[in-house]
């Protein structure tokens, strides 16, 4: 008897050991419940007379911002005041858990009505049947014209719109003016050659200062921060084996080989490489426009410029979009809420572009608040030549192959071999051009 019990209990224990490894690497984190704000409570206390004629509708909304962040709560409260029959329920999920949580919700047909995601995911999600085709609905409201065409591109799959852009961001060159002055760099580097020359002048091995801090970690960030080099070399993932493409690889490899850029960049995400810059360990960094916020804490004079140009001027545009899911039973109401947030005055009121992000809505950029901010205007100006990562639904896999190529390159391996291996794997995954 005792033995039987022991065996049963041991089996239980072994399952608890193996099950975690067996099913998935991560434990799903419970989504943080949105804190009910006091205004919401006040709303609820109001008599329900006004809601008599319209049927009460619940719109569920998933995002990955800080649960305490007021901007969406303000939007939700204001919208409720105008449309008492509509309740928007916000759930925040940490960014790392977001995708897998949405995918699991999709499998259970329990997607939220609206969701946020990086614009680079929208094509894959459209293809997976998570994001609904909202082309006709958006046309019905004549809303398409409100946005930059380039901002809509990554949200379009097979000619159909599957989301609306929330904000965009671009990558810029940030430099430490004080260091430039000390080391005699008089011109802000505008080309690859000048960038390298500035690195050579500012590098100071004895004090652990590098010319530039770049990003090359094993994540999407590593891919993004290589793609603009590749595009600037007038190459693309379609022609990785070309000489132009190899020149992008060798540019970075040589920077690392010659000690101008730390090889530890292959462990740095964008926040890490920016931290290196901010703490004075690098004279320059190539980083996102959202770093304009943290730059206020810089203890030195800094400047910002366009990415150094290779053979052709290119930039990369990132950002986030908002989509309506295929499980949404009232897409029109959901769209109305999104369009409400995107009205130019509301867009600014709810600070949807906060922290160095750019509005994808031309009318917002016409507002004085934006126009008077020279740095933001400078960033916005680059949107004219920026491209997006629109490589079809296989992009997540393409990206992870590219990440390995990037890392292998930083480690100084043979470039011909790197591009051959990567190209052979990437080419079958790319959508036809």
């Amino acid at each position: 008897m005792k033995k039987a019990l022991i065996i049963v209990l041991s089996l239980c224990m072994i399952f608890s050991v193996t099950a975690c490894g067996g099913t998935s690497g991560t434990t799903p984190a419970a989504p943080a419940q949105p804190a009910a704000s006091s205004t919401q409570a006040a709303e609820a206390a109001k008599p329900a007379e006004s809601a008599v004629e319209a049927e009460p509708t619940l719109i569920t909304f998933w995002d990955w911002y800080d649960a305490e962040e007021p901007r969406f709560f303000d939007a939700i409260d204001d919208y409720k005041a105008l449309n008492p029959h509509i309740t928007v329920e916000r759930t925040t999920i940490t960014r790392n858990d977001f995708d897998s949580k949405v995918v699991r919700a999709a499998a259970a047909n329990q997607l939220p009505d609206i969701f946020i995601n990086s614009i680079s995911r929208f094509q894959a999600w459209a293809d997976a049947g998570i994001g609904a085709d909202i082309t006709d609905l958006v046309d019905q409201y004549g809303a398409k014209e409100n946005y930059f065409a380039s901002s809509l591109e990554p949200l379009t799959w097979q000619g159909k719109l599957h989301g609306l852009p929330m904000y965009n961001n671009v990558w810029m060159l940030y430099y430490n003016m004080d260091m430039f002055e000390q080391k005699g760099v008089t011109e802000v580097p505008a080309t690859w050659e000048e960038f390298r020359a500035a690195c050579e002048k500012t590098v100071d091995k004895a004090n652990g200062i590098y010319g530039a801090a770049l990003t090359g970690n094993k994540s999407e960030e590593g891919s993004v921060n290589f793609l603009y080099w590749l595009w600037q070399a007038d190459a693309d993932l379609y022609d990785l084996r070309s000489d132009n493409s190899k020149s992008a690889f060798s540019m970075i490899q040589n920077l690392v080989k010659d000690g101008l850029v730390s090889g530890d960049m292959l462990n740095w995400n964008q926040a890490d490489s920016f931290q290196q810059f901010l703490s004075g360990r690098a004279a320059m960094t190539l980083n996102g426009s959202w770093q304009l916020g943290p730059l206020n804490d810089a203890t030195f004079n800094w400047g910002m410029a366009e990415l150094p140009v290779g053979k052709k001027q290119h930039g990369i545009m990132g950002g986030e979009g908002i989509g309506i899911s295929t499980d949404c039973t009232h897409p029109e109401e959901a769209l109305k809420f999104i369009l409400f947030m995107h009205e130019p005055d509301n867009y600014l009121k709810y600070k949807l572009n906060s922290g160095g992000n750019l509005a994808p809505i031309p009318a917002v950029n016409e507002k004085d608040v934006i126009k008077s901010n020279t740095k933001i205007s400078e960033c916005a100006a680059t949107l004219a030549y920026c491209k997006t990562r629109a490589y079809g639904p296989n992009y997540p896999e393409i990206s992870s192959i590219l990440q390995e190529a990037v890392q292998s390159n930083i480690l100084g391996n043979n470039i011909d071999e790197i591009v051959d291996t990567a190209a052979a794997k990437i080419e079958p995954l790319l959508p036809p051009r």
Partner: protein, 300 residues
């Protein structure tokens, strides 16, 4: 009278099982079901494109795909190297510490408690801490090695292919040792003193006493511990994910990271499911040995 007794023993049996029912239910819902679901998943060609419809039954195609994928076989090999190195390191350091702490010395209790803090730290915290310690330009390890004159140039521990795996192994040993230490210490304190007294009278040296008394008596405990240690180290994910993300290139991509990559970065659920089934198989083989060992120990 006899009838009555048998009824009683039956009732006792029932009560015994009744106590286990909540655990059984818990295990069935949260552990057995996911494992079975995962096994079924591994026979389907589920990807991002078709997971809502469930995907087609593809037989052993997923298994064929991963077994012919050099990335997977390398990941399994890396996992084995990682696991065996961690177990060896954990055991040697843990055993040495246990032997040390068996002797009474001032503050032993406090120190023992402090070791446990390391074990209680979430892996994300230990991983971040280790990343800082091992950083090439700002890390304290490089600073220490340089100051002591062991190295000339800073070593980029986590961003060099040859040092990344040893570095994460070292970090995992640091995290795992306290568990070995506490388990072995509890075993050591339960060893009968008489044996040692008798050995002393017979003129045995401390080393002989260790080799002929401590080791044989501790053998079943060590075996059980090693098997548990294997299962734990084989599925370490968080520490590696935080420290290197499986890089540089694939130098620290162990099987769990490969599975994560396939399932949650590339959304090839079928492939990820097949890979985790292979992992499950490896662990199950060990689990059977573990059960046999447990029963042996019970019979002693």
């Amino acid at each position: 009278m006899i009838k009555n007794r048998s009824f009683r023993s039956r009732l006792n049996e029932f009560t015994d099982f009744a106590f286990v029912i909540p655990t059984l239910l818990f295990v069935a819902i949260f552990q057995v079901y996911p494992v079975i679901y995962n096994i079924l998943l591994s026979f389907r060609g589920i990807t991002m494109q078709n997971f809502r419809s469930g995907g087609d039954f593809v037989g052993l195609q997923n298994y064929a795909a991963i077994l012919s994928d050099p990335d997977f076989t390398t990941a399994l090999l890396t996992s084995l190297i990682f696991t065996i190195s961690c177990m060896t390191g954990d055991l040697i350091i843990g055993f040495s510490l246990a032997l040390l702490f068996k002797r009474k010395f001032p503050l032993a209790g406090v120190l023992r408690g402090m070791f446990l803090i390391v074990w209680m730290l979430p892996a994300v915290v230990s991983g971040t801490l280790m990343r800082w310690i091992l950083a090439p330009d700002t890390g304290i390890l490089n600073y220490a090695l340089k100051t002591l004159g062991f190295i000339q140039d800073n070593i980029a521990f986590l961003s060099t292919e040859s040092t990344a795996l040893p570095s994460v192994i070292g970090s995992n040993i640091w995290c795992g040792t306290p568990f070995y230490f506490i388990m072995l210490l509890s075993g050591l304190t339960s060893l009968p003193d008489e044996c040692y007294e008798a050995a002393k009278i017979d003129g045995a040296s401390p080393f002989q006493a260790f080799r002929c008394i401590t080791l044989p008596l501790m053998k079943p405990k060590i075996l059980v511990l090693l098997m548990l240690g294997f299962m734990y180290s084989f599925k370490v994910f968080d520490l590696l994910y935080v420290m290197t993300g499986g890089g540089p290139i694939r130098a620290t991509t162990v099987a769990p990271i490969y599975i994560f990559e396939k399932s949650f970065m590339q959304f090839k659920f079928g492939i990820g499911g097949a890979a985790s089934c292979v992992m499950l198989l490896v662990i199950s083989v060990l689990a059977v040995f573990y059960l046999i060992q447990m029963r042996k120990e019970e019979n002693l």
